[in-house]
């Protein structure tokens, strides 16, 4: 199927609501992070949103790192 349209893809094919649920925006030890849930209270860091360059040097919060939140 070829669809010729000006409409953005997300308007034509709305994505599943639970897709949005996977990623969460949290504050962890004062650092804003976008995380993805992998298990019970276990999260994988997707993105570090901090503006402090030194936070990017902390390997505990680098993308891919696992963190647990209690």
């Amino acid at each position: 199927m070829i669809l010729y349209t000006m409409m953005p893809q997300e308007l034509v094919f709305p994505s599943d609501n639970n897709e949005f649920g996977k990623q969460k925006h949290i504050m962890h030890e004062g650092i804003p992070l976008i995380v993805e849930e992998t298990g019970e209270q276990r999260y994988r860091v997707v993105r570090n949103l901090s503006s402090e360059p030194n936070h990017f040097l902390d390997q505990r919060f680098s993308p891919g790192a696992m963190i647990s939140i209690h």
Binding site: P8, E10, F20, Q23, S51, E52, P53, L57, S62, P63
Partner: protein, 249 residues
Amino acid sequence: MEHNSKYTSEQEEGQEQPKEDKSSPLMEKIQQLGQTNVPQLSQDSKIHCLTIVGQIEGHLQLPPQNKTTKYEHLIPQIVAIEQNPKIEGLLVILNTVGGDVEAGLAISEMLASLSKPTVSIVLGGGHSIGVPIAVSCDYSFIAETATMTIHPIRLTGLVIGVPQTFEYLDKMQERVVSFVTRHSNISEEKFKNLMFEKGNLTRDIGTNVIGTDAVKYGLIDEVGGIGQAMRKLDELIEINKNNSEELIQ
């Protein structure tokens, strides 16, 4: 060759074989980051860095597979940077395709009104609404290979059916043009010429401005990378400090 392979096999025998099934912290790090270690700095940085990547997300939340910069993330950070006395300067790194006009203008206005020195670098691309964000800083850099697409505002998915809608779009357009011309050295006439130019973008109006051309048109201040940008920011911080000291005296 044979000597070499013999040497390595001997070496391996001498060492303990690492277990492959058990992933060591080092292995994990290599898998995640593609590198083993990054230098650690102890003290807090006096320069903060905002990265504006992917799409600039506005009122509509995009599905997670899109890489986006959300204004609700950036604006509180800019407020925090403004009120934190330890932060002396801000570096803005852009590699964006553009996105929501109002969200982009909101970020631009926040950056333009920040009292601390700001320097922006466009790497890769700073297209569409990325243009006002790039020029909103006190000084702007563009990488030699980076590009900026200047084109008129469009609302995809909506049909312009009534003159009011068109007028609204025209006013929105005017806001972008006036912001860019106020915060850069480009003239309104030149900017509009680039915006409505034919033949540069296939079957579309607009211009794709590359590194040195952006500087030539006065849109961006200088061609450069991270080194020059940091030096400029330090310079601006120094000027800012001297000015505030004079005020106290």
